[in-house]
């Protein structure tokens, strides 16, 4: 489904160039649950940004469903994020002015496909045990609840690939389990899931484990 070939991104810090991501070859297919681990600043977020079209790679290729997409316009990438590739930002990514239900539904209506996602959103909220929170504002939710809402939003429009940047960071064991169980179920339903984390304890045999160090990715 998504393949990267020799994907590289170079940044400059104090007049010195360095590869945040260095010639990464990676592949994820429907049903895969990939976990990317590595220390802070190793290039995980940069890699995620490149495969989600937020940052342009300096070299290499990105293939999605067989199409070369790394040179696509910002408009095309925006449309892709609204349909096929969902990206869950690191940390709190809910819109403070909107209720839980609006947070899940409204952003997707900004894409060209203006479909009513309310029923689907309520269904996912039920799966996360947040059905009573639909009309609450993010300020009234706990950290774990907010993270679950962000993940519900990533799945509501039925994307092929979900990329989540540290979705379980700063969460307690119970919330971490709820989120990982949901990801596992979705992977079994055929979704491709790619997440990053510092926590190695939950990694199991059903997951494909990758490690990133100084921009270089290796499969464990």
């Amino acid at each position: 489904m998504l393949i990267t070939k020799q994907l590289t991104k170079t940044f400059s810090r104090q007049k010195n160039d360095f590869d945040a991501v260095h010639e990464v070859d990676f592949e994820i297919n429907p049903g895969d649950f990939c976990v990317l681990t590595g220390p802070s600043g190793c290039g995980k977020s940069t890699f995620f940004h490149m495969i989600c079209g937020i940052t342009k790679p300096d070299s290499g290729e990105i293939l999605f469903d067989g199409q070369n997409i790394e040179k696509d316009s910002a408009q095309k990438w925006a449309a892709r994020r609204a349909t096929d590739i969902s990206y869950v930002l690191q940390g709190d990514s809910l819109l403070a002015n909107f209720t839980v239900l609006e947070n899940i539904c409204l952003p997707h209506q900004l894409s060209s496909k203006s479909v009513d996602l309310k029923d689907k959103a309520l269904e996912i909220l039920r799966e996360f045990g947040l059905e009573n929170m639909a009309d609450e504002y993010p300020a009234n939710l706990s950290g774990g609840e907010r993270r679950r809402v962000a993940i519900a939003r990533a799945f509501v429009h039925d994307p092929k690939l979900v990329v989540a940047d540290e979705p379980t960071s700063d969460l307690d064991e119970e919330n971490t389990k709820i989120i990982l169980d949901y990801f596992t179920r979705q992977a079994k339903n055929g979704k491709a899931i790619l997440i990053s984390t510092h926590d190695l304890s939950f990694i199991n045999d059903e997951m494909k484990h990758y490690v990133m160090k100084k921009g270089v990715m290796t499969k464990v």
């Binding site: 940004h49 408009q75 994020r81 609204a82 990514s93 002015n97 900004l110």
Partner: protein, 403 residues
């Protein structure tokens, strides 16, 4: 539609900021609306009075041109006179095509008169002003003892269609159409009827004199020959008149010049004020929008990470500008219109204006114009922020860095 919903939600969740911005636009729209009404009202009164008068040159007693202007522009009552024998001399001056005397009298604020109004007597033989109004409205010339009244003069209820002047009820044979000039509050009659009034017991009781109207005039209205300069005619009259002459000739524009100057200076002041206000409001809105947008980079980052294109993000920002402009502009125009309608009389007296134009159609048109300007200003102010958002890298937005 969804961008408008998001814009509305954003504004609704920040009520203090939103109402402050709306207030800026409100001030602009209200100032623009009110000043336009004042300037337009002054200009239209001058224009309508000049057009209605139909004279090129006016002859009035020396040093009474101010009273004449106040009578024409502000509707103040006047009763100055001079000897009518000078009319013949004036008629004979080169360039004068028609010259017709008018006699002004004022009624009393007492039981003997219906109301304090300006009485205007004219000579049907030579008149080219009032006669032309009557012809235009298919009204026959008033006979001796009859009067014609302006649109704002009401006839006495008790006496039927008549008006009480110095204890005599004069039949009103016609009402002139509304002209929005001070002629609307005048009563017109021939010199013969004026003589009847001046010969009444009440007149004598009040003024202790029995004037002969055939010997009196308050003004001479002059129409000049084609191709002649009205200034030259006025100059000729003043030059050829005897030094003992009690009159002076002025062009209509000169008579109205003080009102015109006042109108021009009011227009100048309001233009400066509105320009300053415009700059102030734009700067204030740009500042508030820029500060707000910088606080909201993360929000735009989240939206773009979910698939919102930069075009949609710009639409949200411009949508907020539109909503603020529309709300502020609408409230500004509506409040100004209501204030004008309610306090019309007070404002007219306080600002020494002849009248305020509060016609529904005019206010609607002006409101649409002011609302349009308020919208343009507000959307322009948000345009800079929208441009900054559209030029930003997505990862900069996601990190929430200052734009």
């Amino acid at each position: 539609m969804i961008t408008q919903t998001i814009a509305l939600k954003n504004l609704g969740r920040r009520p203090v900021r939103t109402w402050c911005m709306i207030f800026f636009v409100f001030m602009l729209a209200a100032s623009l609306f009110l000043s336009s009404v004042l300037v337009d009202s002054m200009e239209s009164t001058i224009e309508k009075t000049t057009n209605r008068m139909g004279a090129d040159v006016i002859v009035v007693p020396k040093e009474f041109e101010r009273e004449m202007a106040d009578s024409l522009f502000l509707g103040e009552l006047c009763n100055f006179t001079f000897d009518k024998k000078w009319v013949e001399n004036i008629s004979a001056v080169e360039g004068v095509a028609k010259a017709s005397p008018q006699l002004y009298m004022e009624t009393l604020d007492a039981a003997c008169c219906a109301a304090p109004v300006q009485l205007v007597a004219y000579d049907p033989e030579t008149d080219f002003i009032i006669t032309s109004w009557l012809e235009d409205e298919n009204i026959p010339a008033p006979k001796k003892g009859e009067v014609i009244v302006g649109s704002l003069v009401t006839a006495d209820a008790e006496g039927g269609d008549g008006i009480l002047l110095f204890n005599t009820l004069f039949p009103v044979v016609a009402h002139l159409e509304k002209t929005d000039t001070n002629y609307d509050t005048c009563v017109f009659m021939t010199y013969e009827t004026a003589q009847e009034i001046m010969s009444s017991e009440k007149w004598y009781e009040t003024f202790r004199e029995e004037p002969v109207t055939d010997e009196l005039a308050s003004t001479v209205m002059i129409r000049i020959e084609n191709g002649v300069d009205k200034k030259d005619v006025a100059r000729n009259i003043n030059f050829k008149m005897d030094k003992e002459s009690p009159v002076s000739a002025y062009t209509t524009n000169t008579i109205m010049s003080e009102a015109m100057d006042a109108s021009e200076s009011m227009k100048g002041y309001t233009s400066v004020l509105i320009t300053l206000l415009l700059v102030l409001v734009i700067v204030a809105l740009v500042c508030v929008f820029t500060i707000t947008i910088n606080e909201r980079t993360k929000e735009f980052g989240i939206l773009s990470s979910l698939g919102a294109s930069t075009g949609k993000l710009c639409q949200i920002v411009l949508g907020e500008g539109f909503i603020i402009g529309f709300t502020g502009g609408l409230i500004g125009c509506a409040v100004s219109a209501v204030v004008l309608i309610i306090f019309k009389g007070t404002l007219t007296v306080l600002l020494e204006l002849p009248r305020l134009n509060t016609g529904f159609g005019y206010l609607m048109m002006l409101g649409a114009k002011c609302l349009g300007i308020a919208l343009i200003v507000s959307v322009l102010a948000s345009l800079y922020s929208a441009w900054k958002v559209s030029r930003s890298e997505l990862h900069t937005l996601i990190k929430g860095e200052e734009l």
